[in-house]
């Protein structure tokens, strides 16, 4: 439907009442396979195609100062182009925000984003992935796979804007979730895990399922924890949830380091100043927002505005270097635009992971949902499963609440020198928070 994009572009070019516009043509095709203990519950093939128009229109404030308004509209193939542009233009004329523009033409990096096999045949690939999940789970003694969902999607985006950008990108995305269940007498336990990757080859399913099986069996023996104050260790997927957030929420870092939060007075961070409110007792914190990470779950060549992907140093040794900024908020704050946040990257720490596991400590394997307040960073989050490790014994527990403040926790943490790639996070695979509190049974 390249023809339809051209029609939209030509129609927009004729509009003298617009100061800028962007058109995105987004096509997705995918396959979904769902399993229950009895077999395959559902298989689905899903297609989608739409066009999104964003327009800017010069307006003025009540005192006559120059301003700008924005509007948008979506179209399905064959929809009325003129009507959609009229609607977006009408909306843009209603608001008067400080003036900003659209990104100009730039070089877009080549970022590997695709799984070639998925591009060719998403349905077959997702059936194969489901079979891998079922086979790997079947090898685990005393554990059953009770649910699994495997989604694969190929996504194409063509972006054209009034400042000369005319760019394409194609990406693939695989989302897997599964549940392992075990029973011993009248006790039952389960573990839930989820993975998002660009490529099948990056799905370490067998290892993840082996870990999940062990946690499921250990969970049968788990009791509520005693209260604890001291070292807490997060590894791999739990650490990724802590740093990168999840599908329901972004991370605290992502929120406080965003230019839109700064502009809305929600973030008190200042460029050139420490991001911490007190003394830093642990390793210094350095963070990149990285959209060029090969096969990163949040990587791209360009974002929805057309800003090229880059690796942005946000925090260097505890000091804020810049905010992650869209074109709009970059102009408002007079800082360089960086585009969407992307993946989170940390440098390797200086301590071997084995040293970070000095006993005693608590390891949290799974949170119910780690969802700190995005502005204050305070959290009180239930622990789904973890271990108290002391005297060479790993004692499983479930329940209890991890209490604290996100930034205070990051001010007293040591990172492993060993790193790993976890979809939307690349960096140390183990972190030891030196002084966290768990509210357990008295």
């Amino acid at each position: 439907m390249q023809h339809f994009v051209n029609q939209i572009v030509e129609a927009l070019k004729e509009r003298s009442d617009l100061s800028g516009w962007t058109v995105r043509h987004i096509q997705t095709r995918g396959a979904q396979v769902y399993a229950v203990p009895q077999g395959i519950e559902s298989q689905r093939a899903v297609d989608n195609e739409r066009y999104i128009i964003d327009v800017l229109r010069s307006t003025s404030t009540t005192d006559g100062s120059p301003a700008v308004g924005s509007g948008d509209a979506s179209l399905l193939p064959g929809d009325d182009i003129g009507r959609a542009i009229d609607q977006a233009t009408l909306v843009a004329g209603l608001v008067a925000n400080p003036v900003y523009g659209l990104p100009g033409l730039a070089a877009f990096p080549e970022v590997p984003l695709c799984d070639e096999s998925l591009q060719k045949d998403a349905s077959t690939v997702m059936w194969e992935v489901m079979e891998r999940v079922r086979t790997a789970a079947a090898k685990q003694p005393d554990v059953r796979l009770t649910a699994a969902e495997c989604f694969g999607e190929v996504r194409n985006m063509h972006l054209v804007n009034s400042r000369g950008i005319d760019a394409w990108q194609e990406s693939t995305q695989i989302d897997i979730e599964f549940v392992l269940h075990s029973r011993k007498g009248d006790r039952e336990s389960e573990t839930f895990d989820e993975l998002s990757r660009r490529r099948v080859v990056d799905l370490d399913l067998e290892a993840v399922i082996e870990d999940g099986a062990r946690y499921t069996l250990d969970s049968l023996e788990a009791e509520a924890p005693a209260s604890w104050q001291g070292p807490v260790v997060l590894r791999k997927s739990a650490l990724t949830k802590f740093l990168a957030g999840g599908s329901l929420n972004g991370s605290v870092i992502q929120n406080l380091a965003s230019a839109s939060s700064k502009y809305a007075s929600l973030s008190q961070w200042e460029v050139g100043k420490s991001v911490f409110r007190g003394e830093v007792k642990g390793d210094p914190l350095t963070i990149w927002a990285n959209r060029v990470m090969p096969f990163g779950a949040a990587s791209d060549r360009f974002d929805a505005e057309g800003l090229p992907a880059q690796r942005v140093e946000l925090i260097r040794e505890n000091v804020l270097v810049t905010f992650a900024a869209s074109q709009r908020y970059a102009e408002y704050l007079k800082i360089p635009p960086t585009g969407a946040f992307g993946n989170i990257e940390l440098p390797p720490g200086s301590t071997p992971a084995s040293t970070l596991l000095a006993e005693p400590y608590i390891e949290i394997v799974q949170f119910s949902w780690f969802n700190p307040d995005p502005i204050t960073g305070d959290f009180a989050t239930e622990i789904r499963f973890g271990y108290l490790v002391e005297n060479g014994i790993r004692k499983p527990f479930k329940g209890g609440q991890l209490l604290g403040n996100y930034m205070d926790a990051l001010a007293d943490v040591h990172w492993s020198e060993e790193t790993g790639f976890f979809g939307s996070y690349f960096g140390p695979h183990t972190a030891r928070f030196n002084e966290l509190k768990i509210a357990g049974q008295e």
Binding site: V91, V95, A96, E188, E190, S227, I375, D378, R384
Partner: protein, 464 residues
């Protein structure tokens, strides 16, 4: 005359659904067609900027073929007759269906529309924007410590047409919500915020803000500047209807979605007709509740909306179903087969889930607490149907001392514990029923609009 306002392409396609059904039923034991369109509008006004944006729309067709074992689906964007006919042919011709006789269903026919007094689709965007600006104006200057006030208006317009061999249904469901967020900064630069929301399957008539509503939100944000962290432990607690609803939603809402029974993920499956809470506990899910945010007339699998009594006088009676789990478990269906949109499958999902009201007054309940916590406002929750653990996070709560609520504030507060223990500990239930609108995920995805609520509850729980 019912003002469906069906999108034109959907309206034009509807007469052809019989023919498409016929194609599917030539080979599939059960076949259905769902046309689904969801679009809407978001308006944001704050101290520094305004935005009017379209909510990411979805519009597409779901063809479903079911043989009692597997549900085969083809989901296509848009409503192109030729593409849908071709997809229906391809879907059923490529499958070797097992023999299956679907449960007979009564004839269901009709067009249904949410009753609204002030129809959002009849107000211009300018009028809606001006109403948001007016609320913002009323809130922003109330205290010098306010650094931002955000007004966020969301409008969701859902149209569905469903057809199978015994159904020809259409509905227009209109949902609105509005948030007022007040952000304040203390002397040390600490930022705190409070918020209040109004919502419903309704029109603008439910979005009226009194001065008391606004001032209460401002006062809440300012009070949070001096909030403390609570000493972890077991407390006597009074929950507001919003917090009660979140407890209900995460425990005997998610915990009784019968697809989770099928996946052996729900402990409730072993508790049918057994006691799970105090005799004061009654829990229901009701998509037909007029005006509540999670309401609809029929679910995404064509089952007519009706209430389901989940817990009756402390005894667990039944769960809520989608078509697949009801068939596999051989239990009666309820109208809870819902999709995030056409691109996702239907699961057993909640609609409006709530504790039934009791007979106590709030004043009497507070007077019963010598030392405890009044949990004012929830911020999030997460389910654990297998472990029956509970995670509900509250934005803040007040101290209760000597039978009175004090000014001492704690934030945030997490509620944790074992669901039956929490429900068994309920000793008083107030005589009100209030619902909060929100969005519910299945695990970490599959967002659908829901409401949850109830009365005030007096219970014992671990807080941290």
């Amino acid at each position: 005359m019912t003002d469906m306002k069906l999108p034109l392409a959907m309206a034009e396609l509807r007469p052809a659904l019989g023919e498409i059904l016929g194609q599917g039923l030539e080979r599939a034991p059960y076949f259905s067609v769902l046309l689904s369109s969801r679009h809407g509008l978001t308006i944001r006004v704050d101290n520094r900027e305004e935005r009017v944006t379209e909510r990411a729309p979805s519009a597409g067709t779901v063809l479903s073929a079911f043989d009692g074992g597997t549900n085969f689906e083809r989901a296509l964007g848009g409503f192109n007759l030729g593409e849908i006919q071709s997809a229906a042919r391809d879907l059923v011709s490529g499958i070797s269906f097992q023999k299956y006789t679907p449960q007979p269903e009564s004839e269901r026919r009709g067009d249904f529309v949410t009753l609204v007094q002030v129809d959002p689709l009849k107000l211009s965007i300018q009028e809606k924007l001006d109403r948001c600006r007016e609320l913002h104006h009323r809130a922003k200057g109330r205290d010098p410590r306010i650094v931002n006030v955000q007004v966020i208006y969301n409008e969701l317009n859902e149209h569905s047409v469903f057809a199978d061999s015994s159904a020809d249904l259409a509905q227009r469901v209109q949902r609105v919500n509005m948030f007022l967020v007040v952000v304040v900064a203390g002397e040390g630069g600490d930022v705190r915020y409070d918020y209040r929301a109004k919502s419903g399957s309704a029109g603008w008539e439910v979005l009226a803000w009194s001065d008391e509503d606004i001032q209460h939100t401002v006062d809440g944000a300012l009070a949070l500047l001096s909030a403390e962290r609570i000493e972890p432990g077991e407390y006597r607690v009074i929950t507001t209807p919003g917090v009660s609803g979140t407890i209900c939603h995460e425990s005997f809402g998610h915990g009784v979605e019968t697809d989770m029974f099928l996946k052996e993920r729900a402990r409730a499956a072993h508790f049918i007709d057994k006691t799970v809470g105090s005799p004061l506990v009654n829990i229901a899910d009701d998509p037909s509740q007029p005006g509540s945010y999670g309401s609809y007339f029929f679910d995404d699998e064509g089952h007519m909306a009706a209430p389901t009594q989940i817990v009756e006088d402390g005894v667990f009676r039944r769960g809520i179903t989608d078509r697949y789990s009801a068939a596999a478990l051989e239990i009666p269906r309820s109208a809870n087969g819902r999709r995030q949109d056409y691109s996702r499958k239907a699961y057993a999902r909640m609609s409006n889930t709530f504790f039934g009201p009791g007979t106590s007054t709030l004043e009497d309940m507070i007077a019963q607490v010598d030392h405890g916590i009044f949990l004012d406002k929830w911020s999030s929750g997460m389910e654990d149907p297998q472990g029956w653990g509970i995670q509900v996070t509250c934005h803040y709560g007040h101290e209760i001392k000597g039978g009175r609520i004090t000014d001492r504030l704690f934030a945030p507060i997490g509620i944790s514990g074992y669901v039956p223990d929490v429900l068994q500990s309920i000793t008083a239930v107030s005589n009100v029923l209030e619902m909060d609108g929100g969005t519910c995920g299945k695990g970490h995805k599959e967002a659908v609009p829901v409401a949850s609520g109830g009365p005030h509850l007096l219970l014992t729980a671990r807080l941290g």
